[in-house]
């Protein structure tokens, strides 16, 4: 109890509060930008946290995570586009309300529901910390192994539009994660004798590549400004009254959000839908749902903020992430030297409390800012994307370079960017890939550790049996709910491209087998088993795809039907997205030649002017402002910018990419 209060006082020190506030602001912004969410936000912050004090870094990271599901309501209500995957259900009633001219009511109801849900989640987290020690002690290697495997399967099954493609994404992530030094024997796997691959591609680079780049490219493809007009003036008070009136619904959905969040692997992607369907099942008069019922906003919004508190439980005590953003949070823990597990509830308890308080305060702060400055913040949705995009690309490059100061990271970034774009367009699951990538080493080690201590007997331990039953039940229930809708792909264009892509994906497991087959069995057993499973899954998907293309009759049997559902994805305009992607590569080349600062100014101006020749004032102002920000950041953090070839011939000042000394 003393520590709990001490952590609160620590958080109210000006520096802590400043970091929390900065994180919250960033979280709000990435929440508003459709597609960008906590994962991209954390990936941007992570390259900077390791220069900070651990407690500052934690306050900032939680600050980024907590309010994304608050501010994502802006685009959900105003434009009918979910700001993050956690507000998909909010669109159902939020957008109709806004069309009826009740946007302000919907927003204020959503923000106050978010606030209550978020604080409730923090409360549940702090209570469960008290009971964590016996739980940690009951989870040996075998139980942890099961937990990780089942988390992976759930993520795969639930984040993909197609069950098999989701699980295959997971296995591809596991295979990519096994690149590098084999943990048992130290043999290099799939490294082509490079020091860079020996450690595997850094998590931050993977996160930025998989999430941030595809979203930017996708939004550029969608074109134009984001929202058309704003009407958020009247009705704030009505929204607050709605929440007070529905307090019991808020409580129920917060509890639900916490529970679902705490199940490893389930995380953020489904919680809003679960809350929404709970609302439908428990309401007598369902006639207004989908047409603008305020309860349809309150239920998912309280649940998706409450889930953060729940999701932190497995993250902190087992190091098992439930969603993409928790993967990056764990990556941040590694950077600042915190190991999840027993330490979090014993020697590092002060840091755990600090996170809980940060979570509660960031939720209050986030909702407060959203309500107080709603008209200013919602203008963010009016900024044309061709102005936001180049700025974001520059920030991503800056973050990437700052992480390791290694040019190879850009190759990693662009490669994973391409994987991200193709995954998104062809309907493979990026969260599953990221979580598989992150957990790969852990799965491999746990399988050896379990084998050494228990053999197969771990399956008969009581906790294991409970885990297996629990997770099987969840998977069956949720997949039934999700894949019952039978979907045919008659109007998907470019099916052949997606079939070719499937064949390209097959090369990964095959080449992994080829390159590791001659190693010691303790070094290749894991990647080869994964590769075999992935190979069969991908082949199966390929067969279904071809059969779907040829419209073969065996696909109409009931068992095969759900394998066929969403086997093809209706992506955006793939060619345009690749075209934007190539412009980022152009930016990379400019970096090589001119160094980062000059290339940034050039890129922003060229990019904006290319889209709108008249906006040279804004392009010059924005690039100048960004230069000032970068200059301030670099002197604050004593960073040296990537310097290009030009720096070898001309003596540039250090803030333009010259030598530091």
């Amino acid at each position: 109890m003393e520590q709990l209060l001490a952590a609160l006082f620590q958080l109210f020190e000006p520096t802590h509060l400043a970091f929390l506030f900065a994180g919250t602001l960033l979280g709000l912004i990435v929440g508003i930008l459709p597609g960008m969410g906590g994962t991209s936000g954390l990936a941007l912050v992570l390259p900077f946290v390791f220069t900070m004090e651990p407690s500052h870094a934690l306050a900032m990271m939680i600050g980024v995570l907590a309010p994304t599901t608050t501010s994502d309501t802006f685009p959900a209500v105003l434009m009918g586009v979910p700001g993050t995957s956690g507000s998909q259900a909010t669109v159902m009633d939020g957008f109709p309300l806004s069309k009826k001219g009740m946007a302000a009511r919907a927003l204020s109801a959503a923000f106050s529901a978010s606030l209550l849900g978020g604080v409730f989640g923090a409360l549940i987290l702090s209570i469960s910390i008290y009971y964590a020690i016996p739980i940690i002690m009951a989870f040996g290697f075998g139980e942890q192994f099961l937990l990780v495997v089942l988390a992976l399967l759930m993520v795969g099954a639930l984040t993909g539009d197609n069950l098999f493609k989701g699980i295959a994404s997971c296995f591809l992530g596991l295979i990519i994660g096994s690149i590098g030094t084999a943990p048992i024997t130290g043999d290099p796997r799939y490294t082509f004798d490079t020091l860079y691959l020996l450690e595997g591609v850094p998590l931050v680079v993977v996160g930025l590549g998989l999430f941030a780049i595809p979203e930017i490219v996708g939004l550029l493809d969608a074109k134009g400004s984001i929202a058309k007009s704003l009407n958020t003036k009247k009705g704030w008070f009505t929204g607050l009254k709605d929440v007070v009136k529905n307090w019991f619904l808020v409580l129920r959905c917060s509890t639900l959000g916490c529970l679902v969040g705490a199940l490893p692997g389930l995380g953020g992607t489904v919680v809003d839908w679960i809350a929404y369907s709970h609302l439908k099942q428990t309401t007598k008069d369902t006639s207004q749902f989908g047409k603008g019922d305020i309860r349809g906003v309150i239920a998912p919004e309280s649940a998706n903020n409450a889930k953060e508190g729940g999701a932190l439980i497995p993250t902190l005590i087992f190091g098992i992430p439930g969603s993409g953003n928790k993967v990056l949070l764990l990556g941040g823990f590694v950077l600042i030297g915190i190991e999840p597990g027993l330490d979090m509830v014993t020697t590092n308890l002060d840091l755990t409390y600090l996170m809980i308080w940060s979570l509660a305060i960031a939720n209050i702060l986030g909702a407060g800012i959203c309500m107080g400055f709603s008209s200013q913040i919602s203008k963010f949705t009016l900024v044309p994307y061709y102005i936001l995009a180049p700025v974001m690309v520059c920030l991503i490059f800056f973050a990437t370079f700052n992480f390791n100061r290694d040019w190879y990271d850009f190759i990693g970034l662009m490669s994973f960017g391409l994987i991200g774009i193709t995954f998104k367009n062809f309907g493979w699951s990026r969260p599953a890939l990221l979580i598989g990538f992150f957990l790969s080493t852990k799965v491999e080690l746990l399988s050896y550790q379990t084998q050494a201590v228990y053999g197969l007997s771990f399956l008969t331990r009581p906790v294991s049996i409970i885990l297996i039953i629990l997770c099987l039940a969840t998977i069956v229930l949720l997949t039934k709910q999700k894949f019952d809708k039978y979907y045919r792909s008659d109007f998907v264009k470019g099916k052949l491209t997606q079939i070719y892509y499937n064949i390209i994906l097959l090369c990964l497991p095959l080449s992994m087998i080829w390159f590791t087959i001659n190693l010691d069995y303790r070094a290749n057993l894991f990647p080869i088993s994964l590769s075999l499973i992935a190979f069969f899954l991908l082949t199966f998907i390929l067969i279904i795809k071809i059969a779907d293309l040829k419209n073969l009759s065996f696909l109409n049997y009931n068992i095969i039907k759900f394998a066929r559902s969403n086997i093809f994805e209706i992506g955006g305009n793939f060619k345009i997205q690749i075209y934007y992607y190539l412009s980022f590569i152009g930016f990379l080349l400019m970096n090589f030649i001119f160094g980062f600062p000059i290339a940034t100014a050039l890129f922003i101006n060229i990019f904006i002017l290319f889209h709108n020749k008249k906006s040279y004032v804004s392009s010059i102002c924005i690039s100048a402002a960004l230069m000032v920000i970068l200059w301030a950041l670099s002197s604050l953090l004593t960073l040296q910018f990537p310097n290009g070839l030009i720096g070898l011939f001309i003596d540039l000042p250090w803030w333009l990419g010259g030598q530091l000394n």
Partner: protein, 348 residues
Amino acid sequence: MSLFSFVSVASADVNFSGKTITWVVPFKEGGGTSRFARFIQPFLKKYLPGNPDVQIMHIPGGGAIKGSNYFEKNAKADGTFIFGSSTSVIVNVATGNPLVKYNLSEYRPVVLLPQNTHWFTRSDLAEPHDLSKIKERKLVLYALKTPASADLFHIWIYDKLGIKGAKPIPGLSSSGGYQAFLRGEIHLSSHGAANYVKKVKPEIEKGKVVDLMTLGIIGADGSVSRNPLAPNAPTFPEMYEKVNGKKLEGDDLEAYYAIGAAWSQASKAMMLPKDASDEIVKAYRDAATKMTNDPEFKAKALKALGPFPLIIGEEAGEIIKKAAVFSDTTKKQLNAALKKHKFTYRVQ
């Protein structure tokens, strides 16, 4: 008298005023070597002639090889570059990792910060300071991160103590290993001094855990004394004698000294490049000696660095040579232990 004045003139020639000293740490921020560097940093500025700025440059990656190779390639010998070494940096050299491009044994060490390892087990498995029950067990599980690290020494130690059931569980960090130990999944566990005080001592006081032994503190003359943090626990040489009925000597003693130098005496180190002149080395060593007499240092050192006094001077150079260059007999001993436990990894 004349000799004295000569020396003081020589060190007066070294002046870093207006310069920036770059301290390359081949690890991430927040790790032990980084903390060591950050603690020394302000004192270095205070006591080096000319009070230069000292900046710490972290170059993590490749199991400390990336940063170490960077230092070898880029460090200037004029005293403006120093290197933060640790046991893993040394073990990379000593075990002949082919990616290593730095010749650590020729570097000029300024300060070494020793550490010590404690071994312990559950109270239901053995009496304090007594291995006999452990040796009777068919299966004695212990945590081992990877054989290509200092954890390799565990394999040798358990082998020399005749623990036949010893079986490593791979891929466990010391903290993860300790958790598994508390859950009752592994039988033998070990920790460095700092974590021993923080995490193990409370369990010993509760009666759940008992001390077995410590690595022992090796003096300049080769004598081994007990660890002040666990004064009742025997040192490895004492345990060896009790178990084997003969003194630790010959090849075994040589291997123990090599392991002790790498693992314990040179656990953290600050070094100058190999071409640094004697004057520069002396200026640094003088600054380090003054630092240890600083009242602020004395007040904070126990908490930040642990109870073991810093090693400064020529003695440090001898220890680094011993730690970084394993003799053929020592390598043979380690490889025999690796082979016995079916590891494919070999010391080169």
